[in-house]
């Protein structure tokens, strides 16, 4: 009962100074909303990348020339396909080219059973790119690099196909070879190994060994390795974001201390009065803790709501670009974002720590002073 009455009094006292209260909450929200947006997008991009790696091949094979990735003879694809443990194999050409001043990614896909591939003379275009260039199925598209091509747009990929494909042009392998003038070569080789739990790893090794004995200089990466590269790249981006963030926080914390410190003399006087009327130090601290908790929870909830709107309605403007290369405003229908509980808890803890420093501590100082001094 005692704690209830103190709790209510603490809340009443807090809302008695609406300017102080909302200035502090507003400051916290301004600090935490971008953090939550960044963390949500980072998590979303990570989840999407992991999903696309999971759907990807078990082995990714590239040529190896002078210490760098090089092309591979297309004939190797056929050889791979005949290996006993391989279920599927296909060659790819991945490149970039400009189209009306826009840099886009071109992927030429070799035929392989069970995987959709554009037929020769046809291009499949990512949703964002199609919207950008005002392309619909049936339009014609001219690409030029080493060679030149005019293709009919067979399909516009669904916007839900994910961020990775939204700015792609997919071609048949033959057309891509014409575009880059690399007849008979592919840039990489995707290999799927026959599934079968315990024998999977052994089969992978066997395939890798068989490939090495072909005499071509090859670089072989497993799915796990590719996943780790993706993850590592994202971690570095996340780390950069958090570092940037710490700098911002370093600037904003003094601002926060100013707002929560503003009205400090009133608070000191109020505490002096309560002490004079017989509140104990513990009572005063308890009230400050309630106020801290209320403001932390409120500012965390508001930050979360605003972050959600920022991601869903503003497509993570300003923050998303940090994580997603080549992203332009409005280029995708949905930014990959995932609101995990951890960042929210971190924000809550940060708010509580910051406010405790500004509020519980100063209340403690006032409460331990003699009432006449605090009342002065």
């Amino acid at each position: 009962m005692k704690h209830w009455t103190l709790l209510w009094l603490a809340l009443e006292m807090a809302v008695r100074h609406p300017v102080r209260f909302w200035a502090t909450v507003g400051c916290l929200v301004a600090v935490f909303t971008p953090l939550l947006v960044g963390m949500a997008i980072l998590e979303g991009v990570r989840a999407e990348s992991i999903a696309s790696v999971d759907e990807g091949p078990d082995l990714l094979v590239t040529g190896y020339e002078y210490g760098r990735n090089g092309s591979v003879a297309e004939a190797l694809v056929e050889r791979c396909r005949r290996l006993p443990d391989v279920s599927r194999a296909r060659g790819r050409i991945v490149g970039r080219t400009f189209l009306s001043d826009r840099l886009l990614t071109v992927v030429g896909l070799g035929r392989s059973d069970g995987l959709p591939v554009p037929p020769e003379g046809e291009a499949w275009v990512g949703a964002a790119l199609a919207a950008d260039l005002k392309i619909v199925a049936g339009s014609y598209l001219s690409l030029a690099d080493q060679g030149e091509l005019t293709l009919r747009v067979g399909r516009v990929l669904s916007p839900r196909a994910g961020l990775a494909s939204s700015r792609l042009v997919m071609l048949s392998l033959k057309d891509a070879q014409k575009l880059y003038e690399t007849p008979g070569r592919v840039f990489d080789l995707q290999i799927w190994v026959r599934p079968g739990e315990d024998r999977h790893a052994r089969r992978l090794l066997q395939v890798a060994y068989d490939l090495r004995t072909t005499g071509h200089p090859l670089r072989i990466q497993t799915k796990k390795l590719v996943g780790e590269y993706v993850d590592r790249g994202l971690s570095i981006k996340g780390g950069t974001f958090q570092a940037l963030y710490l700098v911002a926080l370093g600037v904003l914390v003094p601002a926060l201390l100013v707002t929560s410190g503003f009205g400090l003399s009133t608070r000191r006087w109020e505490i002096g009065l309560m002490k004079a009327l017989g509140f104990s130090v513990v009572d005063v601290i308890e009230m400050a803790a309630v106020e801290t908790a209320a403001m932390s929870v409120l500012s965390t909830c508001l930050s979360f709501l605003l972050a959600w709107c920022w991601v869903r309605l503003l497509e993570g403007a300003l923050v998303a670009q940090l994580f997603i290369a080549g992203l332009e405003q409005g280029s995708v229908s949905e930014i990959p974002a995932r609101f995990a509980p951890e960042p929210v808890l971190i924000v809550l803890a940060l708010a509580a720590i910051l406010l405790s420093a500004g509020l519980v501590y100063t209340s403690y100082r006032s409460a331990t002073a003699r009432p006449v001094e605090a009342l002065r």
């Binding site: 009962m1 005692k2 704690h3 209830w4 009455t5 103190l6 209510w8 009094l9 009443e12 008695r16 109020e270 009065l273 309560m274 002490k275 004079a276 009327l277 017989g278 509140f279 104990s280 130090v281 513990v282 009572d283 003699r370 009432p371 006449v372 001094e373 009342l375």
Partner: protein, 246 residues
């Protein structure tokens, strides 16, 4: 600096203290020095010794700046003396732990501040019953207790108003209601009549006198002749400044 405790109505006194063992408040050689060991040193109070008992009004009398507020704060445990000690029923206040001292202030002392000190923007009933919050008393009971006190002082309709919506005299009476809400053994009133008109002042003094006769220790600090008239005991403080200068 010197203290002159006189019982002006000794012949008429003695009828008040009834009921359980009455409370006794005592100052023993109590002194207060601000900023000691600096060039700004102020001797606010110099070695006051006085017993304060129930049965009639104690008035602490003296000119402005002689240390009346300082002495009341020390008696109410709102401050600690530099020298000497304050005893309640024989127990020195500086021997009490922080929670015990808080409890003493909450349950046994009512303090009427020289400048009222009500919380702005808070309804009168909540102001009056503020000291009941740490005891976990429900808001309904607090409202009832505050209402009863406010009614006794003629403020029965004003419980939901905030101090800003009151006249100076009403604020003053509300502050008195707050001091009385826990039915304390000790009432310390600092200049209770200085800011209000004669009719209000007479009303307030009547309340204080009634309490003193009902067995409470009532100590009033004042430089008002009218208050001095009502006193049973007078403790006269001389200005310490003049004493040091002369």
């Amino acid at each position: 600096m010197t203290v002159d405790g006189t019982d002006r109505t000794a012949a008429a006194g003695g009828e008040g203290a009834s009921g359980p063992a009455p409370c006794v408040l005592e100052a023993r050689g109590v002194g207060k020095v601000y900023h000691p060991a600096s060039s700004r040193v102020v001797v606010a109070l110099d070695r006051v010794s006085q017993r304060f008992e129930a049965g009639g009004l104690h008035v602490i009398w003296g000119p402005s700046g002689c240390g009346k507020t300082t002495l009341l704060s020390l008696l109410g445990g709102l401050d600690m003396p530099t020298t000497g000690e304050v005893l309640v029923d024989g127990t020195p206040l500086d021997r009490l732990s922080e929670p015990e001292l808080s409890l003493f202030r909450r349950r046994r002392v009512g303090f009427l501040f020289q400048n009222s000190n009500l919380l702005a923007g808070v309804p009168l009933w909540a102001n009056v019953s503020l000291s009941m919050v740490p005891d976990g008393i429900s808001s309904a009971s607090r409202r009832a207790a505050a209402g009863a006190r406010l009614a006794e002082l003629g403020l029965e309709d004003l419980g939901d108003r905030t101090p800003e919506e009151l006249s100076g005299g009403e604020v003053h009476r509300a502050a008195l209601a707050r001091a009385l809400v826990r039915d304390p053994d000790i009432l310390l009133a600092d200049e209770p009549t200085s800011q209000i008109d004669e009719a209000n002042a007479a009303g307030v003094m009547a309340v204080l006198d009634r309490l003193a006769r009902a067995g409470k220790v009532v100590v009033v600090a004042s430089h008002d002749r009218f208050v001095r008239e009502a006193a049973r005991w007078v403790t006269e403080l001389k200005s310490t400044r003049r004493a040091i200068g002369g």
